[in-house]
């Protein structure tokens, strides 16, 4: 008994000495989050999820999107839309200061919005605000945004992390924002958020400090948030189990059963606003025939893919966008029906089946290559012979972005995250015929004039119920037309140490730690 105690004690001492640095915890403690990729820049020139996730802690937006898809004021206190739907007047909260001590006022907001939408600044996501014609200071705490025509998604677009409000003084001190001159600012942003930027060791870590003067009602508790870059999925999970990190972002489905056995960690599954689909080239035979497109949809068992390959961490699509998005409604999903698939193919003139090519990326979406292989196997049972072409992301993005008369793509797998939480971003950008690649994201060249009309209308309908009804109509047409092989919306699997509470895995694929704490 005694020796066992001694041994235990010795082990504890050894463990403490060896593991101490990562567990040293005074007051709020340090929260370490492991993720696969580093941020690129933390300014308006940001473009990736890690950028967005870090920025959300430092730089706040005028409005925010709640996890259940509601838009709430953040830096804004209230807002009013003029009867003609073209003028949005925003009253700002009083008494908020940027981390550098300068005040957040109407002039600062105008500076930010003007910078963002100025074509000369070449901000990547400028299209989010391109409908704005002017931003005016009404008084010190009020700004008025005017759009050329009514633009209902504007509020949703103002929740986007890349449209956060930065300190104009800090940007100017750093010599601007635009790369390459503005690079120092992009590596040390100044906002109003619950955390202040501290340091960034590229490829390794980003460190944020708690903002003791935070204005919001929910004061941050954790003293320091550290993002560590751990590119290898397996190593990230092991670092979580070993206690070196508290949170592991994007846990691969195959690791979840092992993590479930570990009492020190728990696994969180959160739905995401990302929909995975296989687009058909709607302007190319045989996919010009709606019967062929429907046949493919009947041929694939999406439920089986979700259950086996994704370990249940996904949801079969029943609309072109995911639940949680304003404007979403469950429409339908094509059940697996091989007889129906064969019959439709025969009617379309392919009684002997057909040969197609399916392009897909690898390593970009959860189990993407395995999903493609499963689709291939299931199509074969309906007499469809699909040849798989696997590509790495950079190549893939380019190959699938060719104009309709130059592409030789027949079918391709892609995902779309509707990160503004509004149907406009998920439907207009993909299904409106003005958005064909390479100018837009409609890489499957869909055209239905009735859908175009409905999507145009919905942009300007201010009444939420009527707007939702319009989107529902559009989505019904889209599901019938089957321009996609509808697959699933992904879930995000996150691993956490048991003692971490209050962490929010947002459906927009960001891990938000501003309200996290350690509980004993």
């Amino acid at each position: 008994m005694q020796t066992r105690l001694v041994a235990l004690f010795a082990a504890a001492v050894v463990a403490t000495v060896l593991v101490a640095p990562s567990f040293a915890q005074q007051s709020g403690g340090t929260l370490i989050i492991g993720r696969g990729a580093d941020a690129v820049t933390l300014s308006f020139y940001a473009s990736a999820a890690p950028d967005s996730e870090t920025m959300a802690h430092v730089v706040e937006t005028l409005f925010k999107l709640t996890p259940d898809g509601k838009i709430e004021p953040l830096l804004a206190e209230s807002h009013r839309l003029s009867p003609d739907g073209r003028q949005l007047t925003i009253r700002l909260r009083r008494g908020i200061r940027f981390h550098d001590g300068t005040p957040l006022d109407a002039a600062a907001v105008k500076w930010n919005l003007d910078y963002f939408r100025n074509p000369e600044n070449r901000v990547t996501f400028r299209f989010l605000l391109s409908e704005i014609t002017s931003v005016d200071v009404v008084d010190v705490n009020t700004v008025r945004i005017t759009t050329g025509r009514p633009f209902v998604p504007l509020l949703a677009h103002l929740t986007h992390d890349f449209v956060g409000i930065h300190s104009p003084a800090a940007v100017e001190r750093a010599g601007g924002m635009r790369p390459p001159q503005g690079m120092p600012y992009g590596a040390a942003p100044v906002g109003t958020g619950p955390y202040r930027f501290r340091e960034w060791v590229r490829g390794d870590r980003i460190v944020l400090d708690r903002n003791p003067d935070y204005w919001g009602p929910n004061k941050p508790v954790i003293d320091q948030i550290v993002w560590r870059v751990i590119p290898d999925d397996g190593a990230r999970v092991l670092a979580l189990e070993g206690g070196q990190i508290h949170v592991a972002v994007r846990v691969p489905p195959r690791e979840t059963s092992r993590l479930a056995l570990n009492r020190a960690v728990r696994v969180d599954r959160t739905s995401s606003l990302r929909t995975i689909y296989i687009g058909f080239n709607n302007q190319r035979r045989p996919f010009t025939d709606v019967r062929v497109r429907q046949a493919f949809n009947y041929a694939v068992d999406k439920r089986a893919i979700v259950q086996t390959i994704l370990g249940g961490a996904a949801r079969v699509s029943d609309a072109p966008i995911a639940p949680g998005i304003v404007g979403y409604a469950p429409i339908m999903s094509y059940p697996r029906d091989l007889a129906r698939a064969r019959q439709l193919l025969a009617e379309a003139g392919f009684p002997q089946g057909l040969n197609v090519t399916l392009h897909h990326p690898t390593g970009r979406y959860v189990q993407d290559a395995a999903v493609a292989a499963a689709v291939q196997a299931q199509l074969r049972e309906a007499g469809i012979n699909a040849r798989l072409v696997t590509m790495e992301w950079a190549t893939y993005l380019q190959v699938t972005n060719r104009p309709v008369d130059q592409t030789d793509i027949e079918m391709f797998m892609l995902g779309w995250g509707t990160v503004t939480g509004d149907a406009d971003y998920g439907l207009y950008s993909l299904f409106h015929s003005s958005q064909w690649a390479p100018g837009g994201s409609g890489r499957f060249f869909y055209k239905n004039e009735r859908v175009d009309g409905l999507l145009d209308q919905a942009r300007a309908i201010t009444d939420p119920a009527r707007r939702a009804a319009t989107y529902k109509q559009a989505m019904e047409l889209i599901m019938q037309d089957a321009p996609w092989l509808f697959l699933h919306s992904e879930s995000q699997i996150t691993g956490l140490r048991r003692e971490v509470t209050g962490l929010l895995v947002h459906p927009t694929e960001r891990v938000l730690a501003m309200n996290a704490r350690f509980s004993r």
Binding site: R122, T124, R202, D204, D232, G234, L238, V399, S429
Partner: protein, 306 residues
Amino acid sequence: MSVYLVKRLLLALPVLLGVSLVVFTMIRLIPGDPALLMAGQAATAEVVQEIRHSLGLDRPLVVQYGIFLGNAVRGNLGRSLFNSAPVTEELAQRFPRTVRLALASMVVALLIGIPAGIVSATRHLSWADSLLMILALAGVSMPVFWLGLNLILIFAVRLQWLPAIGHETWRHLILPAITLGTASAALIARMTRSAMLEVLRQDYVRTARAKGVAEPAVVRRHALRNALIPVVTVVGLQLGTLLSGAVLTETVFAWPGVGRLLVDAVLARDYPVIQGAVLLIATTFVLLNVVVDLLYALLDPRIRYE
């Protein structure tokens, strides 16, 4: 000697020029557009074109290469397309970490490889010899990420003796150095063994034995010194390989060195970073080769460079 050194270093210039030209053309020939990656799926064609223009990617390739070369001779390797950081700064930050990892791995490799090779050679065809050579074979064929993950599983997760990831202290160095050093250790062991076997058959070794010199002294003073010459070549080249990034090890252990920089840059099509990293690695290889040649002379007085 110094004339030889200058000549060797001057010869390196055309090599590096060739490397830069090959890398420059190759990365631009493979599909994948950095502007498109930067703009994201949601961007319009104009935005992509604007980005391409602002990065100077819409200029003729010859002009781009000329600019790159002109800047490179002045020690400016350009800026990352993605985060605008100067490439030289990025390399200066990461190269020392990779050097640290490579040297530690080499120490592991030598500590295991040379003794194992000697034992194997002096007990030629014994059970120890067979066992060591089987282990060497296993060491060479073991996938790096598999070994790395298993070491983490055992020493970081189960036993909690060592940290799994990071690069802050010497304790962070142990697991990656073992992972990376294992393959080199196996290779060096095999090299040492065959070189020793060769030397032990030589007349001067038999002479030494005949004079009554004790066996350990024969091995140490007469055989080993001469056997080390081919081993030095392997060690030099291995060190080059280790320095060229040891990509997988750096990925598994979240070690932000040159190897990972290069992989990330390739995935992002960050042309200036790829060019800079490859040039750095090529330069290291060339310099290591010179050092290896100089070491020959040190080990074998018969070799003279004029």
